[in-house]
């Protein structure tokens, strides 16, 4: 049989025009795919696994019928009501409170509001006043509430693996400190290892220790770091300035392997600003060129996407710089065209380089931005946001060297998991064993704590007082929502304990700010806490000048296959390994859950005769790891991407054992990418759980897209594709909706495919995690999914994202087939789902053309773990086995808002109700509201020409409609 890639090429040739496709199997139209398509659920999803004889079945049915009547006669067991002894002033039982705070990733803060139900944080929302959030968050912030309640978090302070006490730890710490103080250079042999620090208080505390103990040293390690960014700034400006961007003012954006819509400080804000400029205003929208080394969400948004090996991007950056300077000839045409486009929009362009590209690429980007006058208009420089902007890798290397030379007597590790995530050639674990006293403070009892004498449970961000800076320097004071569940301590308290003080986190943070704001401190403190940011704390923009003689970026890449290391799109560097919400979140491009893969391009797959799920051995400089192959369209040839975060050995019940460990290939010499990889097929297969073929709606015009010119000439293009039946074409009498009629629009032009809506929905609606085996059977429970479509050629596809929640059809196919009226049409047009009535026939799901209904094949909700009970939203029923469920447009929020409005004798205002997916969306792609109100945002959007209904030809009359996607390609780069 010919390779799948050949089959596809053949078929593509035979087809006319560009078509949308989701997976290679679909394109090749393999028998397996046909089989998949004709099933409601994948094979086995709707089958009873146990071998049951007919007789056994009848016996059981008879018995259950006889007992069914008896079950109705149960009385509810008596419940207790436990009121407060002294009720706190603000708390009204049954109504949540919101507290401002921040979620940090890599040290950088995103402002959040935390919903708290009588002392239990249950949901994270973005803080609309915070510059890095503007009301939205990323997936990690959403999942941080689960992290806090994770039953696998370390729950006890341990010494040599045995439970110990805080007092015992303090005594030991004190002994160590006395020894270190007595050295000729006080502090000799004492080392502190942290992750990236932006917290002003923590930085001041560290500084205090380093001043008091000059021999002590502070190291930082962060596996997904910004070393290259800072080195690039040093190279270009001679100082490690922080760079941030204003995408709202950018007409032309060039991404040099930067996934700015998905990663890095400020990404949520960037997505908002970028998406705002995808709206056509005055016949114009922004244009994004992406040159990238693996298929990313940023590439999916691009108007022109160029897949190049990571090692080739330096040369492209250099060529682009030369073209902008006009100093060189013989530049490839497409680079010259980009340069021309940039030059035509001075002060309104952005060139942004990816974090894993070397310093020279960043320096070149800085130089281009300066030449084009973008600096100060779309690109801003400030003092470094990080407390110590020195290179993380260098810092870790120094620590390892000192440990190997036995110069480290006491090592205090504040967070992080270097034993797992340090580059393998540093042999961190080996070096660590030479340290006399090793202390680890962390959320989990992980690989690192296992090799440390002491492990101290860390207080989660939602349990502690702290502060942190955002991408532009804005400080947020972080307040606890709940007392530490497991007696955790904050870094502040550990550092204070080192200095012999028993101050609490609260006093430490407050004292720091008191010094800066001695006057009217109480007002300052309360206001900053309430607002979620310290007013005026953003760093002022700095004027810096790029050096004229920048070292040229390396051109071309070495021989052989290239290997690239990237943070995982859902579990990042491995710190979120144990969060089921993120493990089960389909990765934006591959739609794989619960695993990482070896990503190869179709042509590379053909060269090595690989197909998906083949296990290969990767051999890089003698380091070997085996992992399953996934063929990803748009991946550059001969370049292989592996993601961090998997292959954990001590992550917890959820994360341990999933995937392979990419860190074991990584070296300190080339932490981001390198050539010289060898790949060998092992011959075995590994089953992956990818959802890309689940819930298919094959062969219809689901995603609609046009180029800007086309749109301007034919604004109606999305509606011309298929016919929408007339209003009277129905057998049923029309519903009368006198009051509200809820509806939604999803703008495919704005959606950046970040998946935040999925996690927000899981968090808001108590959606269960089902596990890899169940996902493989197509039983994932997500109420909203983000479908990813490719269009066109295998090597260079266009990529589209389409979030699909319940359409809340006006003529709902699900409603008419339910034998027990468990799904009914509400007076406001929702397809209500009544769990307590559902008997699990699954007829509704069978009849749903959008495949948005989810069935509880088993008891997926964890009803046992006490901590997880606290996390649940009390306004939403926790579903049990045998019940169908689906998106309800967050009916609990609708009811709440309606009741509040009714009490005030008014109607619900537009924008008063936001669904969870809408609220979290960084791109503001989702708009919800009353379609009876002609002035509501959703009504206005539905009137736009781009608006179209999914499968509207079926006469389902969906309440959720889509705004067609637009691309804005450069006419000069169009083929032909």
């Amino acid at each position: 049989m010919s390779h799948i890639v050949d089959q596809i090429k053949e078929r593509l040739k035979a087809r006319s025009g560009k078509e949308y496709w989701r997976s290679l199997e679909e394109l090749a139209d393999t028998p397996e795919f046909q089989e998949m398509l004709h099933r409601e659920f994948p094979e086995g999803a709707s089958e009873w696994g146990d071998g049951f004889s007919r007789r056994g079945f009848l016996k059981l049915m008879g018995a259950s019928l006889a007992l069914a009547g008896a079950t109705a006669c149960t009385r509810q067991p008596a419940e207790k009501i436990v009121p407060y002894v002294r009720q706190p002033e603000e708390i009204i039982p049954g109504r949540p409170l919101y507290f401002a705070g921040a979620a940090t990733l890599g040290g950088y803060a995103t402002g959040v509001l935390v919903e708290s139900h009588m002392g239990r944080p249950t949901k994270i929302e973005g803080n609309p006043d915070h510059p890095a959030s503007l009301g939205a968050t990323d997936i990690f912030a959403q999942a941080s509430v689960l992290e806090m309640y994770d039953p696998d978090r370390s729950q006890a302070l341990t010494y040599l693996g045995n439970i110990s006490s805080w007092a015992a730890f303090l005594a030991r710490l004190n002994e160590c400190m006395i020894v270190h103080r007595k050295y000729p250079t006080p502090g000799d042999g004492l080392r502190i290892l942290t992750e990236s620090v932006t917290s002003p208080t923590l930085a001041a505390q560290l500084q205090e220790i380093l001043t008091a103990l000059p021999g002590a040293k502070w190291h930082q390690w962060e596996p997904v770091n910004r070393d290259n960014v800072l080195a690039g700034a040093r190279m270009a400006f001679g100082e490690p300035v922080s760079t941030h961007y204003n995408f709202r003012n950018a007409d032309i954006i060039v991404s040099l392997d930067s996934d700015f819509l998905n990663y890095g400080p400020g990404t949520v804000r960037y997505a908002r600003d970028f998406a705002a400029r995808r709206k056509v205003e005055g016949g114009k929208m922004n244009r994004l060129y992406t040159i990238e080394s693996t298929t990313t969400n940023t590439g999916a948004m691009a108007d022109h996407r160029f897949a190049r090996k990571a090692g080739e991007i330096g040369g492209i950056a250099q060529a682009l710089l030369n073209a902008v300077r006009g100093t060189s000839t013989g530049i490839e045409k497409w680079i010259a065209v980009i340069a021309k486009d940039l030059a035509a929009n001075p002060g309104a362009g952005i060139v942004i380089a990816g974090d894993h590209q070397p310093a020279e690429v960043h320096a070149a980007a800085h130089a281009i931005n300066e030449l084009l006058g973008n600096a100060g208009k779309t690109v801003f420089y400030t003092d470094p946001v990080e407390a110590d902007p020195s290179a993380r890798l260098q810092s870790l290397r120094l620590l390892v060297d000192d440990m190997n030379r036995s110069q480290v007597e006491t090592l205090i590790i504040l967070g992080g998991n270097p034993v797992y995530n340090a580059p393998s050639d540093l042999k961190f674990a080996e070096a660590l064993s030479r340290v006399g006293t090793r202390m680890h403070v962390g959320l989990y009892d992980d690989e690192t704590s296992y090799l440390c004498h002491w492990h101290i449970p860390q207080a989660h961000a939602l349990e502690s007082w702290s502060d942190a800076r955002a991408y532009d320097g804005t400080v947020t004071l972080i307040q606890p929502l709940i007392a530490p569940l497991y007696g955790g301590k904050t870094f502040h308290e550990i550092l204070a304990a080192m200095m012999g003080s028993d101050r609490s986190g609260y006093t430490i943070v407050q004292d720091y700010w008191k010094k800066l704001h001695p006057e009217n401190f109480d007002h300052f403190w309360r206001k900053s806490l309430h607002d979620g940011l310290v007013e005026g704390s953003a760093f002022p923009p700095k004027t810096v000048t790029a050096k004229a003689d920048l070292p040229p970026a390396a051109t071309g890449s070495g021989e052989g296959l290239e290997i690239q290391f990237r943070p995982d799109p859902t579990i990042y560097d491995g710190r979120y390994s144990n969060l089921g919400w993120l493990q089960e979140l389909p990765k934006p491009m591959t739609k794989i859950t619960w695993d990482n893969t070896v990503l190869v391009s179709p042509m590379t797959a053909k060269r090595f005769a690989l197909s998906a799920e083949d296990v290969v051995e990767l051999n890089y400089k003698g380091r070997k790891v085996t992992g399953p192959i996934w063929i990803l369209a748009g991946q550059p040839d001969d370049s292989i991407t592996v993601h961090f975060g998997y292959g954990r050995t001590r992550a917890g019940r959820v994360g341990t054992g999933a995937g392979f460990n990419a860190y074991s290939l990584q070296t300190a010499g080339a932490p981001c990418y390198d050539s010289g990889l060898e790949l060998r097929k092992t011959g075995s297969k590994y089953q992956l759980a990818s959802t890309q073929m689940h819930q298919m709606m094959e062969g219809r015009h689901l995603v609609r897209s046009a180029e800007l010119d086309e749109y301007l000439q034919h604004p109606d293009f999305a509606r011309e594709v298929e016919e929408t039946p007339a209003d009277d074409m129905t057998m049923y009498p029309p519903y009368k909706h006198d009051g509200y009629a809820w509806g939604m629009t999803i703008d495919l032009n704005a959606c950046v495919g970040c998946n935040a809506c999925v996690v927000a929905c899981v968090s808001e609606n108590n959606i269960a995690v089902v596990g890899k085996d169940q996902v493989r059977r197509g039983r994932e429970m997500h109420w909203i999914r983000v479908d990813r479509y490719f269009k066109g050629e295998l090597e260079d596809p266009e990529i589209y994202h389409q979030p699909v929640p319940c359409m809340q059809c006006e003529n709902a196919p699900c409603e008419v087939v339910c034998p027990v009226n468990a799904t009914t049409h509400s007076a406001e047009g929702l397809n209500d789902m009544v769990y307590n009535r559902c008997i699990g026939t699954r007829y509704c799901s069978n009849n749903c053309p959008y495949k948005v209904r989810r069935f509880n094949f088993f008891l997926y909700s964890d009803l046992q773990s006490p901590s997880l009970k606290l996390q649940r939203n009390p306004d939403v029923t926790v579903r049990t086995r045998g019940v169908m469920e689906k998106c309800t447009y967050c009916v609990q929020r609708i009811n709440h808002a309606r009741i509040e409005a009714e009490k005030e004798n008014r109607t619900v205002r537009d924008g008063e109700i936001t669904t969870a997916c809408q609220q979290v969306c960084p791109a503001e792609a989702i708009v919800f509201g009353n379609i009876h109100d002609p002035e509501s945002r959703v009504s206005l959007l539905k009137k736009e020409e781009r608006n179209y209904g999914l499968l509207a030809d079926l006469n389902t009359r969906p309440r959720t409609t889509y705004m067609a996607n637009l691309k804005n390609p450069n006419p000069e780069l169009k083929e032909g």
Binding site: R75, K80, I81, E828, Y835
Partner: protein, 218 residues
Amino acid sequence: MPQIFHRSANTISKFSIFGALFVLAALVYVTYGVNMSSYITQAGVAREQPVQFSHAHHVGQIGIDCRYCHTSVEVSNYAGIPPTKTCMNCHSQIWANSEFLEPVRASFRSGKSLEWVRVNDLPEFVYFNHSIHVNKGVGCDTCHGKVNRMPLMWQHASLQMAWCLDCHRKPEKYIRPKEEVFNMDYEQPDNQLEMGRKLVKEYNLQLAILTNCSTCHR
């Protein structure tokens, strides 16, 4: 061949076939009756509490307003059970040494909550909101009964869905002027239906929504 059955078997079989109908009907009747009975619903069954608090005394005799203790009834879905502090507002002064009230004082001293037995207990999949009901003219005693005459608290109504729907379908049968909501001695006027219809209009009750599944279940 001799007959296996006596001739009278005919009569017996006819009678038992005919009788089975009655037996079945009786079974349905009994099941229904048991299900609606206070054995299942617990309506009318007084509950023993950690402190034998008497609404009859506090509301009926002293005349304390419902909202003195159930503070959140107008703003939240929960009416709210008073914290121990509320009891101690008075009982630190009066009956301050009563043996009867020792659990209250113990709670106040130790900071450990009193654990009351829930009297009106809806299933977990029902989302009832007190505030909207009292704001739309549903009196406390419409659902809770004449609390001012209950020495120990009991559940007044069956709290079954049919009972909820009775009012959700025809609120005019029960609605009263808003200012009478907390009046325990309120009696329905003779022209209840007429007044009810007027109030339903005046208070802008969304009748179409009242019987939506998602109004109570979600």
